[in-house]
């Protein structure tokens, strides 16, 4: 036998108590993990390779207002601009009752890989997409979910635009931050709308990162005081704009997380202290045998740490396992497409567990140290 076995045996002696205590830690950490994951998904736009060279240009009034197609030439002329493509959110429905489903975008087919280079797509599929004006590309996630095959006909009913799109699936891409979207030829939308001469947004690829601020300035200046003023911004701040629109909800979840952590600390501390308080008689025996306060404190700490660790394993590990196996995207109608428990989040959960074990060890350590050998034995005889 050694100290470790003694501690382990001691921790699990009252199995029900130990299990319940660990379980209450686990529940709280599971909740914390879930909230942090949700918060991250709501507040942090996923990092994306190539995003730093991309500029999104939208109507200054709001994203819901279109831009004239004739702006393209003006943007193309700005020094530093490599490529310009329209990108129009079609906002249609693929199937009824499909929640949010997936988004459809019209763009310049030839420039897809040039601008959104991170998309992985077999070259022959990209060629097929470019050749057929009715062709479309779908992300692998959506293709899998709806059982789409290359060559399938895909009909999207217009939600914003008064027309339906009858498309043919030419390729399936993967490896972007969101492998769910559908891309089709902007020209096809133009035709369906009777050559209306409008686009949703412009997406600009800049030649080098240093030129990005200058290009943004130039684009904004070009259309200032015209009938269609624009707002050009980096892809990241474009996405952050969406998050800011969610308003107080994100702050609210943040507050909830802190409340949960606080109460978790309170509840766990009191249960763990309770568990250890039951063992004062033994602590007195150990003291009589010659164990010092430091060693007794170490026993208590080790015990509370083990209870916390078991809770963390169950709560954080369980959360990670659950969310990696379960399709949260489906359960929340696409509001949380990823719901990934990142190492940072798992780390935060474990960190909280460690802090908890420290906090809950303090009160029993204090009372154990104040306990004299004789009193300890007396009170329990």
């Amino acid at each position: 036998m050694n100290i470790a076995t003694f501690i382990i045996k001691n921790t699990w002696r009252n199995k029900r108590r130990a299990a319940l205590t660990s379980l209450s830690v686990a529940v709280s950490l599971f909740l914390l993990t879930t909230l942090l994951t949700a918060l991250r998904e709501l507040t942090v736009p996923p990092e994306d390779v190539g995003a730093s060279l991309r500029i999104a240009v939208r109507n200054k009034i709001s994203l819901a207002n279109t831009l004239p197609a004739k702006q393209r030439g003006n943007i193309q002329k700005i020094p530093g601009v490599a490529l310009v493509s329209p990108l129009t959110f079609f906002g249609g429905r693929f199937k009824e009752d499909d929640g949010i489903g997936f988004a459809q975008f019209g763009l310049d087919a030839d420039l897809l890989i040039g601008i959104f280079g991170e998309a992985n797509l077999p070259p022959e599929q990209f060629d097929a997409f470019k050749k057929d004006r009715r062709a479309c590309l779908v992300g692998r996630d959506s293709a899998t979910r709806h059982g789409m095959k290359i060559g399938d006909r895909i009909t999207v009913k217009g939600g914003i635009y008064p027309c339906d799109l009858d498309l043919i699936l030419a390729g399936i891409y993967y490896g972007t931050i969101d492998d769910r979207n559908l891309y089709f030829h902007h020209t096809f939308l133009d035709e369906a709308m009777g050559n209306w001469g409008q686009v949703g947004t412009w997406w600009v690829k800049v030649k080098s990162a240093e030129q990005v601020p200058e290009v943004i300035r130039a684009i904004n200046a070009t259309f200032a005081n015209t009938s269609a003023e624009v707002l050009a911004e980096t892809e990241r701040s474009f996405q952050l704009g969406f998050i800011s629109m969610l308003g107080n909800v994100t702050a609210f979840i943040g507050v909830l997380s802190s409340v949960v952590v606080f109460t978790l600390a309170l509840v766990t501390t009191s249960t763990m202290s309770l568990t250890i308080r039951e063992r004062f008689r033994e602590l007195a025996i150990l003291k009589a045998l010659g164990f010092k306060n430091g060693e007794i404190a170490a026993f208590i700490l080790a015990e509370s740490f083990m209870l916390s660790a078991a809770g963390a394993l169950l709560g954080v590990g369980g959360g990670w396992l659950l969310y990696s196996k379960m399709s949260v995207s489906q359960a929340t109608a696409g509001i949380f497409p990823f719901f990934e428990v990142t190492p940072q989040i798992a780390g935060a959960g474990c960190f909280v567990a460690v802090i908890l074990s420290l906090i809950s060890a303090v009160p029993p350590i204090i009372s154990a140290c104040q306990l004299t050998v004789v009193d300890g034995l007396k009170t329990l005889d």
């Binding site: 709001s62 005081n225 707002l231």
Partner: protein, 387 residues
């Protein structure tokens, strides 16, 4: 024979330290449940408090929301002159042709932006929406680049006080009045003249038409005539029904609330079971004594469960009191239908409180059930012997 109630109440009071964790965890669950559900209730309230039963809204067929609907002047003219539409004094159909524009506007904090719904309406639009009252200034005059904002919008957005001008491209829109939508969706809107909105924002189309139905008009057949007309390509819906369907935003919030409450309640029950076990362990001898004195097992059990119920009830009350201050606070979030910010209030309804309290009592009961059963099942002699 029942052990006196006072004994149990006294016990709950004396053991406050070990009760604290249970109390806190139940209070927390109740509080979080109420907070989140009051958000959803606030959004729901907008959906049920907006619209007039006598109004019919006409949208482009297939469009999900008013803000993404596009109507031509021909479609509008046909819809306006259908049988069953009420007429004003001059004999023209009582209708408002609306142009909705989503405008990215700065919040009051000066840092972030939010989408605001600018609603262009016809003069009749004010009369058709009786729940909207002018509270300050005057209504806008068509052709003079004027607008009326809701008071709640003014509280959240920058530069919406009376006399302020909002810059739109090269033009300016002057705020001349403030309105109150009395908890309806209109509390998140800014109103101006419809034709002016079309001009200011370079719109070729209108968004929707709101029609007043004649008293006793056959709503159903009117709607089905609109919906089935192949040439017209529009759909009709009662204004009240339209807003009731706008529940996409409240859905995820309600889901979040239920999810949090479910997971946390497991935690609360575990915590309360745990502290009850510890406490019952200390009381085994006491319970044995009660039984020797002649109290029946069932009555002791009932008494112990009563203690659990008391704790649950107190925890629930504390949770309600903690959540109560948010009631009536106004907040905003992006509505998923229109991508614009809706302003709404946290609403702690009686139903929510009742549900939360029922839950709290249930959690207290569940938490004490197993320990109480164990304590009362022990043979009297063993119970007396135990330390």
């Amino acid at each position: 024979m029942l052990p006196p109630l006072k004994y149990h109440l006294q016990t709950v009071r004396v053991r406050w330290r070990s009760t604290l964790a249970t109390l806190a965890s139940i209070a927390l669950v109740v509080m979080v449940y109420l907070l989140v559900q009051s958000l959803a209730a606030g959004l729901d309230a907008i959906a049920t408090q907006t619209g007039d039963m006598r109004n019919l809204m006409v949208l482009r067929r297939g469009s999900i929301a008013e803000s993404s609907s596009l109507l031509t002047i021909d479609q509008i003219r046909t819809a306006k002159h259908l049988q069953g539409i009420a007429k004003d004094k001059s004999g023209a159909p009582l209708a408002s042709v609306d142009t909705l524009v989503v405008v990215n506007h700065q919040r009051r904090d000066g840092k972030s932006m939010a989408n605001v719904l600018f609603r262009g309406i016809s003069q009749a639009g004010i009369e058709l929406r009786q729940q909207v009252q002018l509270v300050e200034g005057r209504w806008f005059a068509p052709g003079r680049r004027e607008a009326v904002a809701s008071t709640k919008l003014r509280d959240r957005m920058a530069g919406m006080e009376i006399g302020n001008e909002i810059k739109i491209g090269a033009d300016k829109l002057k705020i001349v009045g403030l309105m109150d939508g009395q908890g309806s969706a209109f509390d998140s809107e800014l109103w101006l003249d419809s034709e002016e909105a079309k001009g200011l924002f370079n719109r070729d189309f209108y968004s929707s038409v709101l029609l007043r139905l004649e008293d006793g008009a056959d709503q159903k057949s009117l709607i089905s005539r609109l919906d089935t007309d192949k040439r017209l390509q529009v759909r009709g819906i009662l204004e009240t029904d339209y807003y009731r369907e706008q529940t996409k935003t409240a859905g995820p919030i309600r889901f979040l609330g239920n999810f949090l409450a479910a997971v946390m309640s497991v935690g609360a029950v575990v915590a309360s079971t745990n502290s009850m076990y510890a406490f019952m362990g200390k009381r085994t001898r006491e319970i044995g004594t009660l039984r020797v004195l002649g109290f029946r097992r069932r009555t002791i059990l009932a008494g112990l469960l009563f203690e659990g119920v008391c704790i649950g009830f107190c925890g629930g009350l504390i949770g309600c009191v903690l959540a109560l201050p948010v009631h009536g606070l106004s907040t905003g979030t992006m509505a998923f239908e229109s991508f614009t910010e809706v302003v709404f209030h946290f609403q702690i309804t009686l139903t929510l409180v009742a549900r939360a309290m029922a839950f709290a009592v249930f959690a207290g009961l569940t938490g004490s059930l197993l320990p109480a059963l164990r304590a009362t099942r022990m043979p009297v002699v063993d119970a007396l012997k135990s330390a």
